[in-house]
């Protein structure tokens, strides 16, 4: 074998998964790279919060409203807890709760949506009309009312938001799955006698996956913002659990004295949602998935 053919053969070898991932990431625009870096940083902080944070979530380390110092970079809060530690733990709690909520929401909305699209029976009709009605009430208002009914607790918050959010997931999953389910290759699979689960997981899910992944990012930032808003309003995550929304509410009086403490957790929220949006934008352009609803 000559040197040239060997050279060509070596060039023709398929890229490994790592190589193609690196290649893909390198091709990303600056905004997407920035977004991914920010998300990675947040995930790192959330996972290793006990190691990174200088103090614990509820430890009182000094006087109330202590000024920033080398021991406490962001100062102390209204009862003397370290703000930096609380920001780190708050991120862990807020992100974790939002993530659980969206996972439940996708499990309910996604499975019902795909099932509705594949069967297209009376179940589809009933659930679709119900979703239409539920979606005509703004999420924040609906969540406030349901929280008034069920009482304030983290699990109530998670289930209420997951339920409300799953209506949006249902609609998207149903519509995208439907556009796949009417295609010829699905019909062929049906005629071949494949079972429904096989059709769903081998034909439909792979085709709607990019859209659902992008939607996961958008739903996450929406749920994350809603949780932050509800906690800010005092009906979301309850003290002493640290979370960014309620931290803003607890320290809001400081702003009238020209201190920026309330802005720190608020900025942390904004940065994460902006980052997620940047990455989703790029991902959508890459896969050019079909999306119509915000």
């Amino acid at each position: 074998m000559s040197v040239e053919t060997q050279d060509i053969l070596s060039r023709r070898t398929k890229r490994t998964w790592t190589q193609s991932t690196v290649r893909l990431l390198k091709s990303a625009p600056f905004s997407a790279k920035f977004g991914m870096a920010v998300i990675a940083f947040y995930v790192f902080c959330a996972l290793f919060a006990p190691i990174i944070a200088p103090y614990s979530e509820s430890e009182i380390v000094g006087k109330a409203y202590g000024a920033p110092s080398w021991q406490n970079w962001f100062g102390l809060d209204q009862i003397g807890r370290d703000t930096l530690s609380r920001v780190i733990y708050g991120g862990r709690n807020t992100i974790g709760i939002a993530l659980i909520t969206v996972l439940i929401s996708f499990f309910i909305g996604g499975s019902l949506g795909i099932y509705a699209a594949v069967t297209r029976g009376w179940m589809d009709q009933i659930v679709s009309r119900l979703v239409d009605i539920l979606m005509s009430i703004p999420v924040l208002i609906f969540a406030l009312m349901l929280l008034a009914m069920a009482g304030k607790s983290v699990w109530n918050l998670i289930f209420i938001l997951a339920l409300l959010d799953s209506t949006r997931v249902f609609r998207l999953a149903r519509n995208t799955a439907l556009s796949v389910a009417v295609q010829d290759f699905v019909e062929a699979a049906r005629l071949r006698g494949e079972k429904m689960l096989w059709i769903v997981f081998r034909e439909i899910v792979p085709n709607i996956l990019p859209t659902l992944i992008a939607e996961f990012g958008l739903r996450f930032s929406f749920v994350f913002l809603t949780i932050a808003a509800l906690s800010f309003l005092g009906v979301g995550i309850q003290p002493p659990t640290a979370d960014w929304g309620s931290m803003v509410a607890e320290s809001k009086t400081l702003i009238t004295f020209g201190k920026i403490q309330p802005l720190i957790p608020a900025a942390a929220i904004a940065l994460l949602t902006v980052a997620v949006n940047f990455v989703v934008d790029w991902f959508l352009q890459k896969t050019s998935g079909l999306r119509d609803e915000k």
């Binding site: 009312m145 808003a229 904004a270 949602t273 949006n277």
Partner: protein
Amino acid sequence: MHPVVKTVLQRLGLGFLTLLAVSVIIFSSLELMPGGFAQSILGQGATPETVEAFNRSLGLDRPPVTRYFEWVTGAVQGDFGKSFAGAGGWREENIRYVSNIIGPRLYNTFFLAAMTAVIAVPLALILGLLAALYRNSWFDRIVNAVTLTTIASPEFFVAYILVFFFAVKLRWFAPLSTISDTTPFLQHMYKGALPALTLTLVIIAHMMRMTRASIISLLSSPYIEMAKLKGLTGRQVILRHALPNAWAPIATVIAFNLAYLVVGVVVVEVVFTYPGIGQLMVDSVSSRDMPVAQACALIFAATYILLNLSADIIAIVTNPRLLHPK
């Protein structure tokens, strides 16, 4: 029947049904309360007699269907029943009617929303139009980045940044909007300036992006290209050919974003302690004053549905294909 009238009537009927269904959902939230409302307010230790007395004083002992129809017919006439605040020690002089609590606050909220709309709508349309005309220019890019950031930020972040600069550093406005029934009109406007500015920033971003998108899709349609090719100036193309067809999408954008304002107003009112129904709803949820929470939810949901409905109807009415059927 003219197809437009038929479609509009269908849409109105659907909107009415949605509103009815939503009112049932809001009403039944009280019924679904675990252990009943009395139990959850009075606590586990309440004797059956206290629970019964409590229910009777609030009228909760009658069948739900009767109460639903009373509630809905009352709500249509602006009567939302009695507040639960102070329930238990139930004396005649302590009774507070929900409509009396909501009335002045509803005015305040509409005042704020109107103020926001007057600033935000023209500004967003002009910015969106400019961004669409000069797309991919530095102006477009800056506006795009700024609006994406405001959309992704929580409302209270935008609000506190404004407070920090305009109220604390520059001292142009007060950080809180304390307003009473006797506040004069101009004073009311001045106090509402900062909340209105916050809401403006939040909805302007959505509105501007949607305007930009709809104008761009309009400008890429074949008949605009035709107008350009036959040698019309840019201004003629925009004013004579693009604009008449752009009204429908623009009107939809406005109505849709005013509906979005319904949600934004809750957080912003709490930030500035502006006495509107958003703040009232949050307070009633914290104290579990269900009649007030239900009334606020119904008002919010109805406004939201009606605005979305009018967006749909404007789109139908201005659609040339429906107006001039073949």
